[in-house]
Symmetry: C2
Subunit: 490 residues, 2 copies
């Protein structure tokens, strides 16, 4: 199944692989290849279990019912005993593979058990060990220049609490040291200005930032997420539509990014009410794995600085190593850090980072809720972070990403009538490509599943890779082999 | 410290107590009374730890730093080794006491460990055991007439996903079997009608339903929660302001409730856009522990049925036994169940119950997010539920609530110049009273804390009780003793 790539670049990449396999250390029993037990997936047990589940729980989106007791490393098991190589990983989560032994240790620790059975209302009764848990984990992993954290429960929750911080910050700047006025207090209780803000959060066309009411108002990826749900009248700006390969279309792409920057600045300048913050993903993931260059993101930083708009980077999907850096926005070499960076998925903990203490309201009970995070998730995130550091998994992900990208370049080039626009060069395993249409995309996903490969789509006709951080050359070769055999028959 | 109450009612109550103490079974080492190590609380260690925490995390609302390793049963330990009798319990959570041995077993189980390290994207890859976990726990605990569940992550999240279900349901009723129109699809992406809904969720004055953008738009308890945050222009209706004791003011209270029902119906009838749902708490908790009678709630059910408005009961704080019934709305004997009931806190899991399958959208990815709940929390909730059943803790809570209420009647009546309006008769331990003003309330809370009693406020000048479900006569007597000594000196 090995792909053959000629030339020195592959040899250079291969030399960079450590001789020891972290996956083999973690998972001596990891399957050597997919194990197929049923003709199709979902198999009969999966179908039966899903039908039962549907009697009590919304199961419209089920792929198949998974057996997490028999899943291991990069292989997810289903209810029928099929074991699939998983490059989707619970929509970009599962950082260290299924049933990672070090995380099992963390999950069995006294600290974890204690945090589960005594879940605290963290903002009122923080635990003696919470700062230590944060410092040894989530905060140690913080993006450069960010030393404060707000812990939340999901990506949507992380973004919405970041939005709240942005609104409170912008109003505090106007209000200064003056107290709230009677009119503000009274009108806020009526959901009216001036107490309720008429400021906005600006997001980008095809961006995805969550599904609660504030976050969904900034989500612009697909109508199915938004139909029938009330939304705030917040602005959106165009996101660059780049042409691939990037090197070939440098001038056009630069012009496209400048067009989008100009449009953004114009929207900010002419908006009827102040834009409190903009939010952007380093790669628009649900929207189709749309990339932009450092030029564009530096432009966002410059424009937001100039207009005193906060700059929120949504790293819910890109964060924690997958891009070949701990945080994808580190690829940009910004002249000054973003104002807030949100996270979730791969840490299985959620929240946002910031450095400006003014983004923390001065009064209690403004940024507040009962839980204010979850120590058990922060403990798990610490375990994930420490393993990433110990095994140098961010660099390893950069290396395996290069290997995948180069091989995919070769493979996809053989099937230009069905696949194109490979994306994610020098961006770890955060790789995607387009299919000619949604039907072809969906057929490729299903055919691959039949051969034991679990992939996920994004956008209207794209396929995205979201493997673990212990996805190695042996896994890549199996993946490439299955993909090529599927493409060959498509 | 025993309160002396004469007459047969106390003897009857005492006879109803089981001779065995569940608390003593769970916690043979539970302190017999508060343990005080420092002059004031927070003590020096708590102050130092909190200062450190404040360097990285918003700690404006900290009471003191808690030591959850040394907390046990009904006693919370702080960083200085003080052990306080806790009748606030992480804002109405901690159902079975700190470090409950049965929950520790659940937390150490293979199922729990597996669910923590392999957190699934439940709607795409549900686990083989998820239905069983739900059926043995959360669903077994479901309110009468409700057999379906949506799992979420917090009370706010539970309410917002319930709102989304309500909006999608109401639009589907209008749309029928027709597909979305092009105009709906296009306008939804612009956050505009008709694709984005202009329907509303109606809530009640002083209600609290969470702090994300949709839930905060229905929260009407305090301006500090809402100031500077954008809000939807959704309607609110008056909530009855009852006079206590209820038996004395029956006619006035009935008239007040009828006034509020009439106002609600008028708002629904004259609203510029359709009210999709109303949401109400059985007891407005954050808003000051405001009760209403079954007459009022039956009226809400009748009006909502008549106008085809959905009726959501927010049991985030009242649910899971504290009211002396598993769900507080069971006190109402409604002629037909609510449409949705939301839950969180005492189950440490969140979501909503419903029975009408039409509240589940027909298409995938409408009610959807990455996690769609958390099996580890559902496992914990199962453990909590099974212990509640095993030890008959709902009935026991009803009994100890009666004991508390009767004794509080006696005690508070001695200090009518500072405390009044005792609430929560025949409503388990969900008891509260007013203080003459906020200063007196806050002084009572602080004085009690100095004597080793952890209480919480609500509303502008009220004190609420939210003990565990294993709060027994011995704890009640200590609580009553401390409270009386504080009131005597106030």
């Amino acid at each position: 199944m090995l792909r053959s790539i000629r030339g020195s670049s592959l040899r250079q990449i291969q030399k960079r692989f450590n001789s020891t396999s972290v996956a083999a250390t973690y998972f001596p029993q990891e399957p050597a290849q997919p194990v197929l037990q049923t003709e199709s997936i979902p198999g009969p047990k999966s179908v039966a279990l899903n039908k039962e589940l549907g009697e009590v729980y919304d199961n419209h989106a089920t792929y198949y019912v998974a057996d997490y007791f028999n899943s291991l490393g990069n292989y997810i098991s289903d209810a029928d005993g099929n074991k699939l190589l998983d490059v989707y990983c619970q929509i970009s989560s599962i950082a260290l593979g299924y049933n990672n032994p070090e995380l099992i240790k963390a999950a069995k620790s006294d600290e974890m058990v204690n945090s589960i059975v005594n879940r605290p209302a963290l903002a009122c009764f923080p635990s003696t060990n919470y700062k230590q848990i944060l410092e040894e984990g989530l905060l140690a992993a913080a993006p450069p220049g960010m030393d404060r954290i707000w812990t939340a429960l999901s990506g949507s929750d992380a973004n919405e609490t970041a939005y709240k911080a942005a609104f409170m910050y912008q109003h505090a700047k106007i209000r200064g040291d003056k107290p709230f006025t009677e009119e503000e207090i009274k009108s806020s209780m009526e959901n009216k200005t001036p107490g309720a803000s008429d400021m906005t959060i600006l997001s980008f066309d095809k961006g995805f930032h969550g599904r609660l009411f504030g976050s969904l108002s900034t989500t612009r990826s697909k109508a199915i997420h938004k139909l029938d749900i009330p939304a705030f009248p917040w602005p959106k700006a165009p996101f660059p539509e780049l042409k691939y390969p990037l090197a070939e279309f440098e001038a056009e792409n630069r012009a496209e990014e400048q067009r989008c920057l100009d449009a953004l600045e114009s929207i900010i300048e002419t908006a009827p009410t102040k834009v409190a913050a903009i939010i952007v993903e380093p790669v628009q993931s649900e929207g189709g794995d749309n990339h932009a260059t450092s030029f564009f993101f530096q432009g966002l930083r410059d424009i937001t600085k100039k207009h005193e708009v906060l700059f929120i980077v949504d790293e819910v999907q890109t964060g924690v190593g997958a891009s070949g850096k701990m945080w994808a926005h580190e690829h940009w070499n910004l002249t000054s850090p973003p104002d807030m960076v949100t996270f979730s998925k791969k840490f299985q903990a959620a929240g946002f980072y910031f450095s400006n203490p003014d983004l923390q309201p001065k009064l209690p009970y403004r940024q507040f809720n009962t839980w204010c995070g979850d120590p058990s998730k922060a403990i798990l995130a610490r375990g994930i972070y420490q393993e990433i550091v110990k095994h140098n998994l961010v660099d390893k992900t950069a290396q395996i990403g290069d290997y995948l990208y180069k091989n995919l370049t070769t493979i996809l080039s053989k099937y230009p009538h069905i696949v194109s626009n490979l994306r994610g060069e020098n961006f770890g395993t955060f790789i995607a490509w387009d299919c000619v249409d949604a039907n072809v995309r969906n057929k490729i996903l299903l055919d691959a599943r039949k051969l034991g490969l679990n992939m996920g789509g994004c956008g209207d006709y794209s396929i995205r890779l979201r493997p673990t951080l212990v996805f190695e050359k042996k896994h890549a070769d199996i993946f490439l082999g299955i993909l090529e055999s599927v493409l060959a028959k498509a």
